[in-house]
Symmetry: C2
């Protein structure tokens, strides 16, 4: 029988994605055993992030300032704007270290099922940013899902008439991927987009 403070900590931990009641209990025991190295620093880090984290008013990235570090970095004013669904996708792009422009985080995708319309996402702001920041290329880095592709089409309509190049990520065989394990759609896309060797 755990103490009530420990019980509430377990209950809160179990609400994290990827953790259930069992792994939450295991995590809490681990935290208590590693109090100095892990529990206290983690509590402090959470309190700090809780007090300072905020959405960038320009792009929707999460940072600690009103305008995030990417939006204020002059070296990233390349005229390229990468549109992503979520902050997790922005982080994934940044880890690849290949994109040097700025981002625009939609905050999700359009979804008829979940009743998410363009006004629920950061879509109207894209046109504003094109006009204000001198964007020459919009890279649609959205998921290869129905909702992701619907969203891409809506954005294309939205920026239609502006002098801006619209591109999307290539589809094909993932690096390290084996054909045997790929779905038909990916193989079709990879074949259609085949390149001379």
């Amino acid at each position: 029988m755990a103490d009530s403070d420990i019980e509430s900590l377990i209950e809160l931990m179990a609400r994290l994605p990827g953790l259930g009641p069992r792994s939450a209990r295991r995590a809490v025991l681990h935290l208590i055993k590693k109090r100095g190295q892990l529990l206290t620093p983690l509590a402090d880090a959470m309190a700090k992030v809780g007090a300072t984290a905020r959405e960038c008013v320009n792009c929707g990235n999460i940072g600690t300032e009103e305008i995030c570090a990417i939006c204020t970095d002059d070296r990233r004013a390349t005229g390229e704007l990468c549109v992503v669904e979520d902050v997790a996708d922005l982080w994934a792009m940044e880890r690849s270290k290949i994109f040097k422009g700025r981002y625009h985080v939609l905050g999700g995708t359009l979804s008829a099922l979940d009743q998410v319309g363009p006004e629920d996402l950061r879509i109207p702001q894209i046109a504003e940013r094109i006009d204000r920041e001198g964007i020459s290329e919009i890279i649609l880095a959205l998921g290869a899902t129905i909702d992701g592709q619907t969203t891409a089409h809506v954005i294309a309509d939205e920026v239609d008439g502006r002098d801006v190049r619209l591109t999307t990520l290539a589809q094909g065989v993932p690096v390290g991927g084996e054909l045997d394990y790929l779905d038909d759609g990916t193989i079709t896309a990879a074949l259609n987009a085949r390149k001379s060797f």
Copy 2:
């Protein structure tokens, strides 16, 4: 690119058992989105547990007092002492709500490989508790592993000569278990311990 405070939070979260870098990132984004409902309460709960959690000096359970709630509960002075490896096992026993006695948490098992000897565990204290608390039965609820069984034998030697009944948990087919999926050892144990129907 996440902010450095967010980066350190992710790095700390990734050190929890069951979470890797990817799931830590996902958890942190979730926390930031649910700041009021989850991030702040979790930071508070961690700080509270970090400040108050301690090992019971009597049994090794984790609580907030010098002697835990189970050890101070007079209704649990049944003369039965359940010896478990870890606090997680104590919690598992408590969830079954069937055991009404008290516990003794060893803090691990003896292990020649990891150089864990009897003096590293809470083994000598068992004999002391028998003398002090009037224990009539020791239930060895240790894992059915080599190390668990070695530990059980060492404890048996330790309490030898005292007027105390020594029992272990029954081995057999788990409730809901299918024979087809059981290992040979479990089937052998279940057959040897068969009961009249």
